[in-house]
Symmetry: C2
Subunit: 171 residues, 2 copies
């Protein structure tokens, strides 16, 4: 089972925080890596890698200038998350049969060529909101909530859950 997130059209100035949220959400909810296109952004890459170093696991982030070639050469099933797609509850059972997936999220506008390159397009509600929210809820449904208990290997920091306040175990 392998899920890659493909983030299209990253712009350093405008998208840095949202792209970082996408990457960290992908990691926390069970993706293996994020590939992003648009503007190469060493700062975002570094902040994601810093989280992986501290919080563990093997999540990776790569830049890919030519996302079309990447999709053409990939044998994974391609799933575009967009409010225009089939609503998640109506398609998730079928998608759970696919174990090797590229999940695609855009920035402001998704290039229309994408529609010829995908296997599914999935809406998480049919309302405008956030690619971060769509990504998290998609993965939560895909994994049926099991991602809530992922243990990340080699974590230097680990949270001890508390009813109030903070408790972090360092190792």
């Amino acid at each position: 089972m392998s899920i890659t997130l493909l983030r299209l059209g990253h712009r350093i100035f405008r998208d840095q925080r949202i792209t970082t949220h996408c990457a960290l959400t992908a990691r926390a909810f069970g993706c293996e890596k994020m590939i992003y296109s648009g503007e190469k952004d060493r700062e975002t890459e570094k902040s994601v890698k810093d989280v992986v170093k501290r919080w563990g696991g093997n999540f990776e982030i790569y830049y890919e200038k030519n996302w079309k070639n990447f999709l053409k050469n990939s044998s994974q099933k391609k799933i575009l998350l967009t409010m225009y797609g089939v609503n998640l509850p109506n398609v998730i059972d079928k998608i759970r049969n696919e174990s090797d997936i590229v999940l695609i999220v855009g920035s402001e506008k998704v290039p229309s060529e994408i529609y010829g390159m995908i296997d599914y397009q999935v809406a998480v509600t049919l309302q405008p909101h956030s690619e971060v929210a769509a990504l998290a809820v998609f993965l939560d449904w895909y994994f049926k909530g099991k991602e809530m208990d992922i243990k990340f290997s080699n974590a230097k920091m680990e949270i001890i859950p508390m009813e109030k306040g903070k408790n972090i175990k360092l190792s």
Copy 2:
């Protein structure tokens, strides 16, 4: 049943997009309104109100300078979403018994006074990711996925779900 989102510490320059994503996610996933503190931001308010005008429903956004007074005077149950809390699967059944809720999400750092003012703190995974993701997944679990089919009244735009491409019904 009434759920309010309280977004703390908004900064116009740094948080505008994330705060907007929080508001739109709150709307799409069944909250009634978002109250935000920090810097008053007419542009964010306008963009959220524009979405409501076009896509329907009664979602509201308000600025509240004094969030502590707001929480002190509120009779709603106060739930802080934070990675340090009790993991969602271990507490959601209890929280579903509460029908009148303020959900609280911070920006970079949450002021420590908050811990004396809340009823629950809930983690959505015990990993660092995104307040937008945490909010969406919390609401999805709270509503057991029923929010996926919310119909918004007086929508001028409505999506006709498609397996490929876009179809928007205008009225």
